[in-house]
Each structure stands twice: as C-alpha cells, then as structure tokens.
C-alpha cells in the first residue's frame, strides 16, 4: 500500500502538478473527425482522444483520461500542443516532446503514463482513414 504524502509525488515537476490541477481540453467531442484510443485499464492508464479538423487544421481537441497524475498532465499538455496545428505539424508531436514540455517525468512514468501523443497519432490516422472514405477505426465511438 502506498502513501498519500510520500516524497514520490514531489518528483513531479511544478508543470506536471499545474497541468494536473487544471487540465485543459478534457472531455469528449460529439461527432469527431478522428478518435484515438490507447492504454488499457489493466495497466492503469487508459485514454481516448478526439479531434475536429477543418481545412487540415486541428480546430478542436479533447481527451478523456483514466490514470495517474502523469497521465492526466500529459493528456492535457498534448492537447495544448496540438490545438490549432496543421495535421502535418501535429504528426511530429512525440512522447518525448510532451515530457519535455512538462520539464520531464519520473523515469517509471515515462512510458506507461505518457500515452497521449500516441493517442493523438491514432486519432490522426483515424481522421485520414475517414477522409479517404473508410470506416471509422473505433466501432464503439459515440
């Protein structure tokens, strides 16, 4: 059993805590143009990212996150980094860029709780697939 006020939490940077306290763009978009789902509640983190695209630009982005402080902070940061970007620009956003924008993450949180960039890439793939006229990637999409 793990403690509430252990020093472990202080290994989060101020930026992580700031994002966790006031995460941006949380929630879902009705009728999105692309959806990306990553993670697995069994591992502890699970998120679903929605994009709305107009003229090749991400004009709205939202994310739903189940997970720890790092998962929520990286979700929020990723949406802020992608908002207003062109699809091509958004494609270059990586986990490392997200972690760097938060002044880093504790090493053990680097992979398992930093999935939002991956969800973004999946949402973009989904958007491109739909643009080609294929079926949406996620059958359970709202």
């Amino acid at each position: 059993m793990n403690r509430g006020s252990s020093e472990e939490f202080h290994t989060y940077t101020d930026k992580v805590i700031e994002q966790f306290r006031k995460p941006q763009n949380m929630g879902r978009i009705e009728n999105p143009d692309g959806v990306g789902t990553v993670g697995n509640p069994v591992c502890g983190d699970m998120l679903r990212l929605f994009i709305k695209v107009k003229n090749g630009i991400i004009e709205d982005i939202k994310v739903e996150t189940f997970g720890c402080v790092a998962a929520i902070a990286t979700s929020s940061m990723t949406t802020q980094m992608a908002m207003g970007k062109t699809i091509e620009e958004a494609k270059t956003i990586t986990r490392k860029m997200v972690a760097d924008a938060l002044d880093g993450l504790p090493p053990h949180k680097m992979h398992c709780s930093n999935l939002a960039a991956e969800a973004l890439q999946k949402a973009i793939e989904d958007y491109e697939r739909r643009a080609k006229g294929d079926k949406p990637a996620n059958a359970q999409e709202p």
Partner: protein
C-alpha cells in the same frame, strides 16, 4: 493537515517522546547482561520496565518478550528462526496470500533453502478458510504464520481457531499482530499462540523498535550472530530509548480507544454513504480493524486521488499500481479477487486517537469533488471497459521488468 494514514505509521505521542528523552540525554548505558555501573543499571531498568509493560498487555511474563528493530525483523526471526530450529521435525510451512512482504519474502527465501511453503488463498473479504488450512497440514508441517489483521483492508483472521488447530497438532503458530496490537485484545493464556509480532510505530511509538513474543519452550534459532543480548535470540544492544518509548506507548493506550476508533470509522462510513456512487468498501464488513476503512472508487485511479487530496491537506493511501515505483498493484487487493482496473481506484483511510469528526467532515468534503472532477473526464465513466488498440502494454511490461 489531516493525517488519515495511521495503518502506515502514527504520530508519536508527546508522552512517549517525554519518556524517551532521559534515555537519550542521561541514561545512555547499554543495559548489558553483566552487572555494570549505574548508568547501565538505569538503562537496564528502563528496558526491563518496558518489557514488563508489553508482557502485561498480552498477559504473559517479561521473559517471553524479545525486542527487535520492528515488524520486519520480528517476522524474519519468527519464521526463519522457527523453521531452522525445527527442520529436524519437518520442512513444511503454511502462510497466506495477504501477509506482509517480510512474511512472504522470508517464506520465499526458505523455499530456496529446501523448505516447502503453502500460501493459502483468502476469500473475497480476505479471510483464510479454516477447512482449507486444516487440509493443507501435513505430517511434516512445522509452522503456520497467519497475520492477526491485514493492514490494507483491515480483515481480522480467526487466530483463536487457528491456534487451536495448530496447538493440537504440535505445530508452531506465529501471528503478525502489528496492525491489531492493542486495538484487538490478545491473551496468550487463553489463546495458544507461539509467536507474536509487534511494532511500536503503529501505536504512537517510535520507529525502529518492535518485539517478538515467544512462548516459553518454543524452539527458535537466532538469525543474526553476535552477543547474548535479548535472550540470546537477538544479539546487539537494543535501542533502549525506543524500547522505553514503546513501553510508554502501550502504557498510555486507553482502554476505550478501540471503541472510539470504531465510532469514528462508523462516522466516516455514514458520511460517505450516499455521497458517492460506485463506491465499494473492501475487507470484511464486521471482522475488521476498528480504525481502518478501505474502499474502491470506481472509474478513477488512486494516485490521482491521493495527490489531489494531499494538496488539500489529507494524507491517505492507495493500493494502485500507479503510485508504486515498481508499478505493481497491491497483492492484497489481487488476493481478494479484484481485477487491476478496479484495484487501481483503491483508497485507504486509517484513523488514530488524533483524528476528529471535524477532520472526517473536511475529508469527505474534499473527497467528493475530487472524485467528481476526475470522473468527469474518465473514459470509464460509462462503464466502457473497451479493448485497447495500442502496443504500449508491451512496453509497460518491459518497464515492469526493468524496475524489478
């Protein structure tokens, strides 16, 4: 700041600190076996007085109490010491899945040294099944180690029944009473326990001091070499100031404290009821530590709740894998059959004499919006436990292995 993590450790009582100070400042003798100078004698008196207080608390003689450095050492000494000393009779040991690591890992180490260990399952409440235990007993079983109460979910094991079974068969029975000590009475005269682990820092005493009760006539081998201190079972100069503090902590424990803790826990349960949906408590509803309430808040993850509550001044615990550096979830929650996605939402509240109803009110007031906020953006809030489409789990697994 409301400290609601007393199953983890407790605030040292001021009376304990006061009792310890003279043994740090003035009576710094070593309480050796030999007749020494007056400083040694004063120190020895302090140590022996503490031993007497501990002995009285479980209705035994001071000679049966050995001071150790805490729960971990007591468990090691009890299990390893008894296994080694009795290996001529057999090499089979029985324990259960919800024990603390110092029990489980000691048993694991014994396995590597040629002992056979059976780890009993527990039911959904965390209780061992007496019938299953009886069935597992073999002619070469020498030791059973089952905790008195679990520190994560609070479930209290039927140690009286187990002791009856083991004593009839001449098998040693060790129980780790760290969490239950003083909260649930133990009488060594009426319950045939052979070894009991105690710890001071769960009862407002200092850290780094514990004790092991060893019934007279129990064959035990020491696991650390050195001098003859502590009945030749635990060499080394005991931490006398800490032992004095341990004794004081026992002495000042109030007889009505368990009832007060239970009343406060019930108050918490009442306050929570109806405030939050999809909340379930873990552990046995009745056979439970009076001061412990452990719950699962569905759809959200424990570390997030903890950090949020911490920022608002409340210290609690979680069994969520995400809050441990090894990313391993609680083995206790797993043992009671909770799937990982559920146990991620675990929160444990554990109370002490220093907690008040006002703190409980404030805690519930902070918890409800915390849960609501995190649920608001949880993808699981509609019960959508959908399949993932990511390769990140593989990486996650690699990560786990790296951590180990």
């Amino acid at each position: 700041m409301a400290y609601l993590d007393n199953a983890n450790s407790t605030r040292v009582d001021d009376r304990v600190i006061e009792a310890m100070l003279p043994y740090l400042r003035e009576h710094y003798g070593t309480a050796g076996m030999e007749l020494g100078h007056s400083r040694d004698v004063t120190a020895m008196r302090g140590l022996e007085n503490a031993r007497k207080i501990l002995a009285q608390s479980i209705n035994t003689e001071p000679l049966t109490i050995v001071f150790t450095s805490g729960q971990t050492e007591s468990n090691n000494l009890a299990i390893r010491g008894a296994a080694l000393a009795n290996s001529d009779k057999g090499k089979h040991v029985i324990t259960c899945a919800t024990e603390v690591m110092s029990v489980l890992q000691t048993c694991k180490a014994l396995e590597k040294e040629g002992f056979d260990v059976d780890v009993l399952d527990v039911d959904q409440y965390g209780l061992v099944d007496i019938a299953q235990l009886t069935k597992r007993i073999r002619s070469d079983t020498i030791l059973v180690s089952i905790q008195h109460a679990n520190g994560e979910i609070g479930t209290v094991q039927p140690i009286e029944e187990i002791a009856k079974i083991t004593s009839q068969r001449g098998i040693l029975f060790h129980t780790d009473a760290t969490q239950s000590y003083l909260k649930i009475p133990i009488d060594t005269k009426t319950t045939p326990l052979d070894m009991i682990t105690f710890d001071a820092h769960h009862i407002h005493g200092p850290k780094g001091i514990g004790a092991l009760y060893i019934r007279k006539g129990t064959r035990l081998q020491r696991i650390m070499e050195g001098g003859d201190e502590e009945r030749r079972l635990r060499p080394g100069v005991p931490d006398i100031p800490a032992a004095v503090g341990f004794g004081k902590a026992v002495e000042v424990w109030g007889g009505n404290e368990p009832a007060q803790l239970l009343a406060l826990r019930k108050y918490l349960e009442q306050k929570l009821a109806g405030q939050l949906t999809e909340l379930r408590s873990t552990g046995h509803p009745v056979k439970r530590l009076p001061n412990l309430y452990s719950m699962i808040v569905e759809q959200i993850e424990g570390e997030s709740m903890l950090v949020q509550l911490d920022m608002e001044g409340f210290a609690v615990s979680t069994g969520s894998a995400c809050s441990s550096k090894t990313l391993q979830g609680s083995h206790v929650l797993k043992a009671i059959g909770l799937p990982p996605e559920i146990s991620h939402g675990s929160v444990r509240v554990s109370l002490s004499r220093f907690n008040t109803k006002q703190e409980i009110d404030a805690f519930v007031q902070a918890l409800v919006p915390t849960v609501e906020r995190l649920r608001e953006f949880s993808p699981l809030r509609r019960g959508e436990y959908f399949a993932y489409e990511s390769n990140s789990e593989d990486e996650h697994q690699d990560e786990k292995l790296d951590e180990e």
